[in-house]
Point group: C2
Chain length 261, copies 2
DNA sequence: CGTTTCCTTGACTGCCATCAAAAGTGGTGG
DNA sequence: CCACCACTTTTGATGGCAGTCAAGGAAACG
């Protein structure tokens, strides 16, 4: 199915993600925000009960995305924003030399695609790191709905603002931290997000490769691997491939709070 | 109109660049978006004429900020967003060890403070790099006004989205470029923004120190200085302290487009 | 079961941070 | 006007952290 350049062997490039079928478009299930188990994390977060019901006016479509498939690509027309129902995604930008820069990871309840509003086309790619399910939220509908409700408008604004703040802290990380601090910050961030979803904050399974972590954190995959090993030797973590157990959360926190307020 | 730089043969050039129009203008009367000379760059950008007039309902206050003063600080309550009328600002975050991380520079017509919406308090500091003037736009008023107009709502959304995209590209820079590429990208960005404001794209005066540039680009001030020197030796630039003359814009562009699409 | 992808570890290199010094710039007040 | 001070910038010397190149093993895949 590799419609693209099936390079001989040896090209260590990720381009193979292109094997996605052109949207199988399964039957859209109607789902209501007001009865969604993710409503405290997702779009409705912060809205009062009756306000949430306004969201039920949105005509979502739910869709399954297989591991490795892309949900949208940079340049695609911007029509929807997407909420992760299950699974994990990465956002990435393509660099001119064929490499990719990972700009974020997205877990259940998080929104993707808000960067597309600026130009009317998506500014990044979204790729599933494991089998996943998403809600497509037509932006035009959401905008229309918000024009009737200040608080809903506020929520959308806040979500975008939060994205800006998130990127701020990533800039601090990239601009002023060393390898250990970067990885510590990354693991703590994952830990918190797992906890917020009812999972253990101390033990979890990473869905991304060392190369993807490295791209996100501005370091090479070998350095990521070495830093994991260093943390193990310091008895901060137990690492078995992608399975992480945090042994000393306070120490990890200290390591990275040295730099960030 | 290029109010800048008709260079008198040899004199080490100084402050020729951005001094705003002479007007001491002590009377800060009501200002209307529809008659503002920055309306094509600023908030009204993209709105039709009659839509712009809706913005005239906003009750701005104009305010002068002296060089070195802060407009707001991280943690301050979020009530306004700010549009730069003249002068240059930096946004920055305080790190735990007392250092600062510069997260952006803002020129005439650009908005600041949208990161405050997420938490209801500002997430960064805004400091004037030279004597400046700003419009304070009460966010509540803006939100109320947008609830009556889809296109105005759209504009605010787009502005936030643009901020997200801007930070994306900064992440690429910090995550995958070397010192020369970073500085080239920075200079080209300034160059474009100067051009968009009617100044020369080839010759301008930087308002920030080497340390601030370095913080923004994730490198030390010494490295910034050395990289400027290297560009001079390659005959890409002429540098005299903060006055920059770009000699070979295409080469500079190539140097940085190697990495970014 | 072979092939591909992912991860780890080692050896070496190089870019940039660090430390240090000197010269230039601007502002202040005697 | 000039001395003085704080700040900024440049340049050199040195060292360290992380990148690069390489190889071997483990896991996933078809």
């Amino acid at each position: 199915m590799n419609a693209t350049i099936a390079r001989p062997a040896a090209a260590p490039i990720h381009f193979i993600a292109t094997r996605e079928e052109p949207s199988p478009a399964p039957a859209p299930l109607t789902t209501l925000c007001s009865s969604c188990h993710l409503k405290d994390l997702c779009l409705p977060c912060g809205l009062a009960g009756d306000e949430v019901q306004r969201l039920d006016g949105l005509k979502f479509s739910r869709r399954k995305i297989k591991a490795g498939q892309t949900l949208y690509r940079a340049g695609d027309g911007f029509h929807n924003i997407y909420a992760v129902r299950s699974g994990t995604f990465k956002s990435s930008l393509a660099l001119a030399d064929g490499r990719e820069q990972v700009s974020g990871f997205h877990m259940a309840g998080e929104l993707m695609g808000l960067d597309g509003l600026a130009q009317g086309r998506h500014a990044s790619n979204a790729t599933a790191l494991e089998d996943a399910e998403i809600c497509s939220i037509p932006y035009a509908q959401l905008a229309e709905l918000s024009s009737g409700s200040t608080s809903l408008q506020m929520v959308v604004g806040r979500l975008m603002s939060r994205e800006i703040v998130r990127e701020h802290s990533l800039m601090v990380l990239l601009g002023s931290m060393n390898a250990e601090e970067r990885l510590a910050a990354f693991l703590l961030n994952i830990s918190q997000r797992m906890k917020a979803r009812g999972y253990s904050a101390h033990e979890f399974h990473l869905r991304m490769t060392r190369a993807e972590i490295g791209s996100y954190l501005g370091m090479k995959l070998e350095t990521v691997s070495r830093t994991f090993s260093a943390f193990q030797q310091q008895h901060l973590l137990e690492v078995d491939k992608r399975h992480i157990r945090i042994l000393d959360l306070p120490a990890l926190t200290r390591a990275f709070e040295m730099r960030v307020q």
